[in-house]
């Protein structure tokens, strides 16, 4: 009786230490992969891949308003991927309009192969039962992972100049799909970081790993319509996005918890 209690104590202690170590390691891996550095410099002529998440009328209209206002330069962001939710023809049409009417005028060196529009299933359709919602959310999440890895059926092969299938930067202003995309990007980065421990010797793979280190950066822009409170997507993504931009001063300096990155007030980005 006495003995078994003693061994139980040891077992508990052992289990506790192992568990604590595992959790610490996971958190370390998480925080390190979350804090990847942006490349120190990049020559202007380097090909880049920007992924823009669109979704529902207001968000899409705001996104293109901001891209126009920033004087979007297709020779700088050489390849664009637009992600739309299934059934959202408005957003897809706006993306085509932006590419063919706006960007075509800006640069003669902007072939049609320099962008792609990908449709992912909705996490939850309007009026869909909450019972089936978790499954459709997983389905949507899986599609987002495929998109980020360049394996989605809608995606044309990337230009040969792109070394990696991953987009360099992800830009979104908060439709539901954005939550899936940003979390998927984070998961991929964690996966690559942990994978880096196990395949470190091979120099050719080492090179590949390093290029992924500063990819899949996420920029979340809170909607212009949000003056004093964050949107639901914003609240979820506050701890996950690398840059969190807000357009009204009352939202400046928010953070998920102490020690984390704060929201940046950048003024009105729309036109």
């Amino acid at each position: 009786m006495y003995l078994s209690l003693n061994s139980l104590m040891w077992l508990l202690l052992f289990g506790g230490v192992t568990g604590l170590t595992a959790v610490t390691l996971l958190f370390y891996a998480l925080s390190t992969s979350q804090n990847t550095n942006v490349p120190k410099w990049r020559a202007r002529s380097t090909p880049t891949h920007l992924l823009v998440v669109l979704g529902s009328g207001g968000h899409t209209a705001e996104m293109f308003s901001m891209l126009r206002r920033m004087n979007f330069d297709p020779s700088k962001y050489t390849y664009r991927t637009y992600v739309v939710s299934s059934g959202d023809n408005f957003s897809a049409a706006k993306a085509v309009e932006f590419e063919t009417e706006y960007l075509r005028h800006k640069s003669i060196d902007n072939p049609a192969e320099s962008y792609t529009i990908v449709t992912v299933p909705r996490a939850r359709r309007v009026h869909q039962s909450y019972l089936t919602a978790p499954f459709s959310t997983l389905n949507s999440f899986w599609a987002c992972l495929l998109v980020l890895r360049g394996r989605h059926a809608d995606q044309k092969p990337l230009p040969a100049s792109m070394i990696s299938p991953y987009p360099d930067t992800i830009l979104t202003n908060g439709p539901a799909t954005a939550v899936c995309i940003v979390l998927a990007a984070r998961l991929l980065r964690l996966y690559n970081y942990i994978g880096g421990f196990f395949s470190s010797k091979d120099p050719s793979q080492k090179h590949g790993l390093e290029s992924t280190h500063y990819q899949l950066r996420t920029v979340f822009i809170e909607s212009w319509a949000r003056v004093t409170t964050l949107s639901l997507s914003g609240k979820i993504l506050l701890p996950f996005a690398d840059r969190f931009l807000v357009q009204w001063p009352a939202l400046e300096g928010l953070r998920a918890w102490k020690g984390m990155r704060k929201t940046e007030y950048v003024g009105m980005l729309v036109d």
Partner: protein
Amino acid sequence: MTSSMKLCFVTVGATASFHLLLQAILDESFLVALREHEYTHLLVQYGKDSQTLFEESLSKLPSGNCGIEINGFDFNHAGLDSEMRLAQANSSEGRSGGLIISHAGTGSILGALRLGVPLVVVPNSTLKDNHQEELARELQKQGYVVASKYQDLSTAVKRAEALPSRMLTWPPVNGIGQRRHRTLAQVVSDEMGFLD
């Protein structure tokens, strides 16, 4: 007839119906207020499910509609830009500058601000999770729009008449006095690693 056209364009948006706003603008007192400020036309985008309400309200008005010519349509999928332009002053087409009354959707607000037409924003207080009122109030505080409840539209028309002289330029420019922010182009450049 178009020689002295002055138009008020009302939009309720595509997603949610806004019956209270429709009833308020098709009320005799509102039309009288429009007439007082020399409006000649009222154009209404009433939404997909509100055609019967629009027609019923029209039939209740006194004959002659208080001297205002009223037209309506459900929605335009190509956007409302061309309708909004009818409220813009255009001397060659004989229009003096009118007014846009809009629900607080961002698309409509930005559309009107871009055209520089005086805008009255009427938040739909029946919607859940209402952050629209804050947006309308803040934009009014900064002098871009007139925010109004649907009950107070007659006075809002008067307030909007005074708006053009005070209306700020759109899009807002970051002046010397204002704080410097990073622009979106700079933030994305940061993330890509461009130094210039």
